[in-house]
């Protein structure tokens, strides 16, 4: 089952540069929450604070709290590595490990953590994860082929399978479809709809139609001007956001002729 995330007074920095200011948001379990907004407003940045991937960038740090089921991820005694096992992430560009086969890619999260799986357990896990990612039927006959041999959309679903194979509670996705063609996009969107039964999902997207199609809640980020910090401008359930937003900026944005 998914877990809930509460972000409280979060300020996000790259070195001295305050990239995103004072975010407060409650992300419901087992729902899809979409982040939208113009480029550079900090969608990716916020997303990456939810599994402490932000701090990988030298100098990057945060102030404030991110509570996963009430436990602050940024507590001193929390190990970011452990956080990332609970909160999975899928990236904009599909990035299967090029040295690994499809099967190894799915098992990467488990194997890289030096856990030893019996062959049958591993087989089960691979099938479960690939089915979960809606990819099983397409690849079951060539699990030992390299993961990068797949098409873009298949690769992206492979990455999703890889992420769910470690049993996270939350799945973060940063523009998972922007590198994909329409048919692949459709497959991934279908998948997201399936996955929300098991996971809390947060997705960043440029594509408003996509947000409207798949999200339960939508957060609109904005930035006052280039060089200024981004902020959460408006957060609402998706129907409200696209039909009757109570925020002028948001309305202008979603009703624009964009994308």
């Amino acid at each position: 089952m998914g877990q809930r995330i509460d972000v409280k007074n979060l300020n996000i920095y790259y070195g001295d540069f305050l990239a995103v200011e004072d975010v407060n948001i409650n992300i419901e379990p087992n729902k899809v929450t979409a982040f939208i907004g113009p480029s550079g407003c900090g969608k990716s940045t916020v997303l990456r604070t939810l599994d402490r991937m932000h701090e990988i960038i030298p100098g990057a740090h945060v102030k404030g709290e991110v509570l996963l089921e009430g436990r602050n991820l940024y507590d001193k005694d929390v190990d970011p590595v452990a956080v990332r096992r609970d909160v999975g992430m899928v990236f904009q560009r599909p990035n299967p490990f090029p040295t690994m086969s499809i099967r190894e890619n799915v098992l990467a999260g488990v194997k890289l953590n030096n856990k030893h799986l019996s062959k049958s357990d591993a087989d089960d896990l691979v099938e479960w994860a690939l089915r979960g990612a809606n990819l099983w039927n397409e690849v079951k006959d060539r699990l030992d082929n390299p993961g990068v041999g797949l098409s873009g959309g298949q690769q992206q679903r492979l990455c999703i399978a890889r992420a769910v194979a470690v049993h996270p509670q939350v799945l973060l996705m940063d523009e998972p479809c922007s590198a994909l063609d329409p048919i692949s996009t459709l497959a991934v969107e279908d998948l997201i709809n399936e996955l929300k039964h098991d996971y809390t999902i947060v997705i960043v997207t440029h594509n408003m139609q996509q947000a409207a199609r798949i999200a339960d809640f939508t957060a609109f980020f904005n930035l006052k001007a280039v060089g200024q910090p981004g902020h959460l401008e408006y957060f609402a359930d998706t129907t409200t956001m696209f039909n009757n937003p109570q925020n002028e900026e948001a309305e202008r944005y979603v009703s624009g002729r964009f994308g």
Partner: protein
């Protein structure tokens, strides 16, 4: 403050072409002569580059050809399987040959392997430090500069250094193969660091992030994802580094010494390597053949041995190259494109 979208809306309000200068494009039309000139230029550069290429090939092929043509005449199984013990002047030995380079081949392989064992782990870990732990940091930058400087350390200085180090640590006048390995690793480390660094740099960050996002520790991410992905490149870098040192003479003369018999112990006793052998044989130039030695005595046998050994050295490098390529291919990363 305007929002970005507002800002754009304002800019888009007026026609961008309002007030634009009027351009007479005929003025910029390529003239016939200009087109011809560009074409000539293009052809001329292509010719120049091809000529540069051919000119460069002349000496390069001359080196290869000289070595091969001079080297093959003395290159035979006997030459490869015996050392220089019992070789007197230009007379044939009891085994029917004129001495050989078995000891030098063993010495070259062992000393190079020794250097490899020292410098590859250090070099790779150093590049891991530079790229994975301290990328762009001040300390990493100065280490980077020092690596560059180190790659410019003259080999003879490296030899002097290793010799003195062993004098202090082991005792005066120490000569052994390992000492040579230390001297060579001084020359090898920077090459390994630099090439591994480049290879680690081009491992896409995506992969690191993908691994971290799976909750994998940094150490495992580096060893199992980053290094594994960069492996083919690192291997070719290592081969390049071997090639850089396998032909060193001056530092080995000072450290590993020179001996005519086979010594398989890297850590004790002098060892001969192929370049040193080549150099020493060349220095002998020729031997005397007294009348008593008969017709089988070859006066310029040292030169023949020198060329043959040089050829063997090149062949060894070639084989290493091929092995490297093979390894790189086996571990090749299948990428899209």
């Amino acid at each position: 403050m305007m929002t970005a979208s507002e800002e754009y809306a304002k800019a888009a309000g007026e026609s961008p072409m309002k007030g634009a200068p009027v351009i007479d494009f005929d003025k910029f039309k390529p003239t016939r002569s200009m087109v011809a000139r560009r074409k000539r230029h293009d052809v001329a550069m292509a010719a120049l580059i091809s000529v540069a290429f051919i000119v460069a090939l002349i000496p390069l092929f001359s080196v290869l050809w000289t070595t091969i043509s001079n080297g093959v005449q003395r290159l035979n199984l006997n030459f490869l399987s015996y050392n220089m013990s019992g070789v007197i002047g230009g007379r044939p030995t009891a085994t029917g040959g004129y001495g050989g380079i078995q000891h030098a081949i063993i010495g070259t392989l062992e000393i190079t392997l020794g250097a490899l064992v020292i410098s590859v782990p250090i070099g790779i870990m150093c590049s891991v430090f530079l790229i994975e732990y301290s990328r762009g940091g001040k300390f990493a930058k100065s280490i980077g500069l020092l690596v560059d400087v180190m790659s410019g350390v003259p080999s003879i200085v490296a030899g002097l250094f290793a010799f003195s180090m062993f004098t202090i640590l082991v005792g005066p006048g120490t000569f052994n193969g390992f000492e040579g390995s230390v001297a060579l690793s001084l020359l090898m480390i920077p090459t390994v660091v630099k090439s591994s660094e480049e290879m680690l740099k081009i491992v896409p960050n995506d992969l690191r992030e993908a691994s971290y996002a799976l909750g994998v520790t940094k150490q495992r991410t580096i060893t199992k994802i980053v290094l594994r992905t960069a492996l083919p490149g690192i291997v070719s870098g290592v081969i390049l580094a071997i090639a850089r040192v396998v032909g060193e003479t001056a530092p080995l003369l000072m450290t590993a010494g020179y001996i005519s018999t086979t010594n398989v112990n890297l850590f004790s006793g002098q060892m001969t390597t192929l370049p040193v052998y080549v150099y020493q044989e060349y220095s002998k130039l020729k031997v005397a053949c007294p009348a008593s030695a008969g017709a089988s005595c070859v006066t310029d046998i040292p030169m023949q041995r020198a060329w043959a050994a040089a050829l063997v050295l090149i062949v060894i490098v070639l084989i290493l190259n091929l092995i490297g390529r093979l390894v790189a291919r086996v571990f090749a990363v299948k990428t899209e494109r």
